[in-house]
């Protein structure tokens, strides 16, 4: 194994042994054998299966619900309706200030429904099929109301979704840094863009949501075998709603079939399951189907950008911009309005822009509620910054590569403080871009354009520069609502040496494919001196492992920092104690003890002056009579890693909102068939810089996956509603996710700019910031330059939209106006 030396934030020097190697993943064997345990694989005797009765209407009053026919069906165990939920639970806690704070969000619709597919009742029966039969027998009478699907119409408040809030506006606020008015006044060119639209989509993890829930009447204890990716937060929502202590909710996960943020807002469903398990006195199981997931689980935030004005100097330097952002969170805020601030982690994108004003408003509409989705809220904003770059470049005749390099934050400026007080810790965007350009053969671009033209195709080139801000500071939530009691960030891990010398690691995170068992073992192995195979990392999450903190989970690109930071901290505590114990047993000074190859030994000592880990484990756990009374090692250490952020300035909305900034620079070539508008990606490169790469293969896998999500979103994944609030893409027929044939071969490269602020020099990564969306949008706009030069105004560009742009480039061009002086 090669060895690299890492200097970490604490000044200690870590020898990379296992770290940095793409060792075989620990998770793989069980998964390729079909021996993983996903929530739907858990079986309990006497289980009742749950089926939800869902609203066909997007907005309606519930006149009546009659469950009698369902209850009369043989094999039905029971039902629950919104009225019962309103009696037995309290509404979920809202994060917003008023008006959003006044919204009452229950586990089932109470009194009215606000989106198609909203659960209004649930039925529990002996089989899955019977539960659905019975659900069809529940008679619900609705009185339809006017439907809001357009966020601008919603902002007008002529129809109000939540009467108790009195307004559809969940939250609004102005973010104003630098002096954008002056920047615009001093600019040589002002480029105005009237409207850009970032569409609704989600990562649609292949495994849908669900849980098996057991209730113990004697203790009031619920156990949820589930796939919640942020159980701590799930419990924070659920326990007050269920009026129980937080420890009465035990979450257990093992394998999770992808989550991508979409499994954070499962609490309404889980509360219904808890109530049914208690009411019926039996385990209850619910499996969400694909159509349910598309209609009623989690969509990404849809955002409209209005009246963008960009200040540009004659040399192509941009000095800032202003924009009105209108975010559509669907029928209930749930994790929102956090999205109203999360984007600010990447306020100027990759650029050294100092003057930015964002007038942000979030509204409710009669669509499915949103929840975090890979690239959460930053992706929307980064798409805006990339659209700004490419629209300005196109309008002013600037080269998209040159204009980026001119405006990028430079490597020598790192660490770089943004106008809103965030600190970009490290990175070299220009170098990453050069690598990406080389990978796609940028030098031959003009020749390829000609070749494509000869085949009747339009070739386009595009770049997407993104940041993946990781390890967020929950203190930013107080910018939305100063009364919120969330700030900072932390994560827990426990490492112990067991009686037979097994190293057992328990992590607080909830992996869904990111290989945490593997990377955690690498870190532990390097610190305590053994091989990763000797380290057993318990799969999954269990509240009762007691190795978690309030907001434990896998989200927001942070495992490499907080998760592994905790593993590192716990391993160091264990290492120090193992050394102490070995020194005592071997009667040698502590600084003469080294841990290596699964042994504690005296440096340069005789061969027999060594203790296998098994001996250490056995002494402490079972054979400890000879240890002196004042020496009480446990070889079992829980550590909570907590990065330091410092305070945030709520007034100025400034502060360190995240700890690390991984970058991804994407470049691609597309070919468009001008007769049909169909786009094909013919070359694609992504260059990632996430600092020290613990496991390069896993990092690359995340880059591939984030790129595939972005390509799908850019070309066809779109949750489209008609004016009645009916979702027109509720399944994989009409919501087309990339298949093997859709994906171009991906070329990847990397730059390694170690983070000076993270325990291992590694940065969280994996969300990718939607790089592929930006790159594909840019490439489509470039391809259409010779065909009327339309402006790409939407983040989703399926064939019909490209064709429409070809038919009427003018109406898109009218969105942009340039004033020069």
């Amino acid at each position: 194994m090669s060895t690299t030396t890492i200097t970490t934030e604490s000044g200690t020097v870590l020898e990379k042994g296992a770290i940095g190697q793409s060792i075989p993943r620990k998770e793989d064997k069980r998964l390729v054998q079909g021996q993983g345990v996903f929530f739907d694989d858990v079986r309990r005797h006497g289980t009742g299966y749950v089926h939800f009765v869902r609203s066909p209407y997007a907005h309606a009053k519930i006149v009546s619900i009659d469950v009698s026919a369902a209850l009369a069906l043989e094999g039905v165990y029971g039902t629950i309706t919104g009225d019962e939920v309103a009696i037995h639970t309290d509404p979920f806690f809202e994060m917003s200030t008023p008006p959003g704070a006044n919204i009452k969000d229950y586990a089932l619709a109470v009194g009215k429904v606000r989106f198609q597919g909203e659960p209004v009742a649930a039925v529990c029966a002996a089989t899955r099929e019977l539960a659905r039969d019975a659900a069809e027998l529940v008679e619900v009478e609705y009185d339809p109301l006017d439907v809001l699907v357009d966020p601008e119409a919603s902002a007008a408040d002529e129809v109000v979704l939540h009467e108790e809030a009195g307004s559809n506006v969940v939250w609004s606020g102005v973010f104003d840094w630098g002096d954008v008015d002056q920047a615009l006044a001093e600019a040589d060119h002002v480029v105005k863009i009237k409207r850009l639209h970032f569409h609704r989509f989600s990562s649609t993890p292949l495994e849908c949501s669900g849980a098996l829930v057991e209730y113990q009447r004697g203790t009031g204890q619920w156990t949820l075998y589930c796939n919640h990716q942020m159980p701590g937060v799930g419990a924070i929502w659920m326990a007050p709603a269920l009026r129980c202590g937080i420890d009465k909710l035990r979450f257990v996960t093992q394998d999770i079939g992808g989550a991508f943020g979409n499994k954070i807002c499962l609490h309404p469903y889980y509360v219904v399951l808890c109530l049914l398990a208690r009411k019926l006195g039996r385990p209850v199981q619910w499996t969400e189907w694909r159509t349910d997931q598309h209609m009623a689980n989690a969509h990404g935030n849809e955002r409209t950008f209005l009246d963008v004005e960009v200040a540009v100097r004659s040399d192509g330097t941009m000095t800032g911009f202003k924009v009105k952002a209108l975010d559509d969170c669907g029928a209930f805020p749930r994790y929102e309005p956090l999205g109203c601030i999360i984007w600010a982690q990447v306020t100027p994108g990759c650029y050294a822009w100092r003057n930015i004003r964002v007038d942000f408003t979030q509204v409710c509409t009669n669509k499915a509620p949103v929840s975090p989705n890979r690239g959460y809220s930053r992706m929307q904003h980064l798409w805006l910054t990339e659209r700004i770059i490419d629209i300005v470049a196109a309008e002013l005749g600037l080269d998209p590569v040159e204009v980026r390099k001119r405006n990028y934050v430079k490597a020598e400026q790192m660490p770089y403080e943004t106008p809103n007080g965030c600190v970009y810790d490290s990175g070299d965007y220009a170098r990453s871009l050069d690598i990406a350009l080389e990978l796609i053969g940028y030098d031959g671009l003009e020749q390829r354009r000609k070749d494509a033209e000869a085949r009747g195709k339009l070739l386009g080139f595009g770049i997407g520069s993104t940041l993946d801000s990781g390890t967020n500071n929950f203190g930013q939530s107080q910018m939305l609502n100063p009364d919120l009691q969330f700030s900072g960030n932390n994560e827990a891990a426990t490492v112990k040496l067991d009686i037979f010398g097994e190293v057992v690691v328990t992590i607080g995170t909830v992996p869904q494919g990111q290989g945490h068992e593997t990377t955690a073992s690498q870190v532990v192995a390097d610190i305590i001196g053994c091989s990763p195979e000797q380290v057993h990392v318990r799969p999954g999450y269990d509240t009762w492992f007691n190795s978690n903190v309030g907001l434990s989970g896998t989200y927001a690109s942070q495992f490499a920092v907080t998760g592994l930071g905790a593993v590192k901290g716990a391993s160091e505590l264990l290492r120090d104690e193992m050394i102490k114990l070995a020194a005592f047993v071997l009667q040698a000074p502590e600084d003469q003890i080294e841990l290596a190859d699964g042994m504690a030994r005296i440096k340069d000592g005789p061969e027999e002056a060594a203790l296998p880990f098994m001996a250490l484990g056995a002494i402490v756990n079972a054979n400890n009579a000879f240890l002196p009374p004042d020496f009480n090692p446990t070889l079992n250490h829980r550590y909570v890693f907590r990065p330091y952020f410092g305070p945030v300035d709520l007034e100025q909305k400034m502060g360190k909102l995240t700890l690390t900034y991984a970058s991804q620079i994407h470049a691609c070539l597309v070919e468009i068939d001008p007769e049909t508008g169909q786009t094909e990606i013919v070359d694609y490169a992504a260059v990632d810089d996430c600092g020290v790469r613990i496991h390069p293969q896993i990092v690359e896998g995340q880059v591939h996956g984030a790129t595939a999500h972005a390509i799908g979103a850019a070309l066809h994944e779109d949750f489209v509603y008609d004016e009645d609030g009916t979702l027109l893409t509720p399944n994989f027929y009409d919501y087309h996710v990339p298949h093997a044939m859709d994906m171009p071969p991906l070329k990847t490269g990397h730059v390694e700019s170690p983070s000076p602020v993270s325990p291992l020099g590694a940065k969280g990564m994996g969300e990718g910031g939607g790089g592929g969306i930006h790159a594909v949008c840019a490439a489509i706009q470039d391809a259409l330059r010779s065909a009327g030069a339309p402006i790409v105004y939407d983040s989703c560009n399926p064939s019909h939209r490209v064709w429409a742009m070809l038919q009427d480039a003018e109406s898109t061009r009218a969105l942009v106006e340039v004033t020069s002086r």
Partner: protein, 280 residues
């Protein structure tokens, strides 16, 4: 995912199958099930009885007779795609069958199921109309033959009446014709947006557009305008106005206007390729 209660039978003879199908107007034939089972999972339609045709091995034969290629209704897409008889006689059938959905669906889905479900996005209905295929339908009163053009009556509706069964599709020998198929799909391989099938001989063409109506639409005017001239300019000229004659639905993937436009584009592509195949 979860279907309504249904009865199931797997008859071992055609007679038995017809008897069950005739016994209840809610009985439906189950061939490959790659559409029917999905529709039942959505509970959008619910037959009372499923009559599984799996044991009727006589419906799985591919043979070449005087009337051309004879394809049993239970011949799968995979069979079409790999059959040497098909490749020799009417290779377009194998080519298009290989484009349908994916390997797993092609291993189960059948020609009979495809055309009897007649989902507007299916590839085979427009193709079989272009090839002037004939469908053999068997009922308690005996056997009758319906041309492909008369076979398709609506979405999920065909000339196969209650109590009847489609047993065979006969595709005439090419007689020097070149056949081609063009389609635009969502993504590289997804749902069909518009398709066109063409069968061209030296003097004439049969052109059929799919996915623009409940049933395949024959582009008769374009056929007439073309006559026997398959030069690119003439074909493009002949396609003009085809879209205007259609009344396609608009949906999330395509407006009616876009479908009208695509109908012309796909018709041109199919005809040009078919003409090229006549020449080679």
């Amino acid at each position: 995912m979860l279907m309504r209660e249904v009865e199931y039978a797997r008859p071992s003879s055609l007679e038995e199958a017809l008897r069950i199908l005739g016994s209840n107007d809610g009985a439906r034939a189950l061939a490959g099930g790659q559409t029917l089972i999905n529709v039942m999972k959505a509970r959008a339609a619910s037959p009372d009885i499923l009559v599984d045709l799996a044991a009727l091995t006589e419906l799985t034969a591919v043979s070449t007779g005087s009337g051309g290629l004879e394809l049993g209704a239970m011949v799968t897409y995979a069979q079409l795609a790999s059959s040497s008889e098909v490749e020799v006689t009417r290779p377009i059938l194998g080519e298009v069958a290989a484009m349908i959905a994916d390997v797993q669906v092609r291993n189960r889905g059948t020609i009979g199921g495809n055309i009897c479900s007649n989902d507007p996005t299916n590839h085979l209905p427009p193709l079989l109309v272009a090839l002037d295929a004939a469908m053999t339908i068997v009922g308690s009163d005996g056997e009758r033959t319906v041309t492909a053009e008369d076979f398709f009556l609506g979405v999920y509706m065909t000339a196969v009446a209650t109590g009847e069964l489609l047993t065979k599709v006969t595709v005439p020998p090419p007689g020097g014709a070149g056949d081609a198929f063009a389609a635009l799909t969502v993504g590289a391989d997804g749902t069909c947006i518009v398709s066109a099938a063409a069968s061209v001989t030296s003097g004439a063409a049969r052109i059929v557009i799919g996915c623009v109506s409940a049933t395949p639409v024959r582009a008769t005017e374009m056929e007439a305008k073309l006559g026997g001239d398959f030069g690119e300019a003439s074909v493009r000229e002949a396609a003009k106005g085809l879209g205007a004659q259609l009344d396609p639905p608009g949906d999330v993937h395509a407006s009616a206007d876009y479908r009208r436009h695509l109908a012309e584009v796909m018709a041109v592509r199919a005809v040009l390729q078919a003409a090229e195949r006549v020449r080679s």
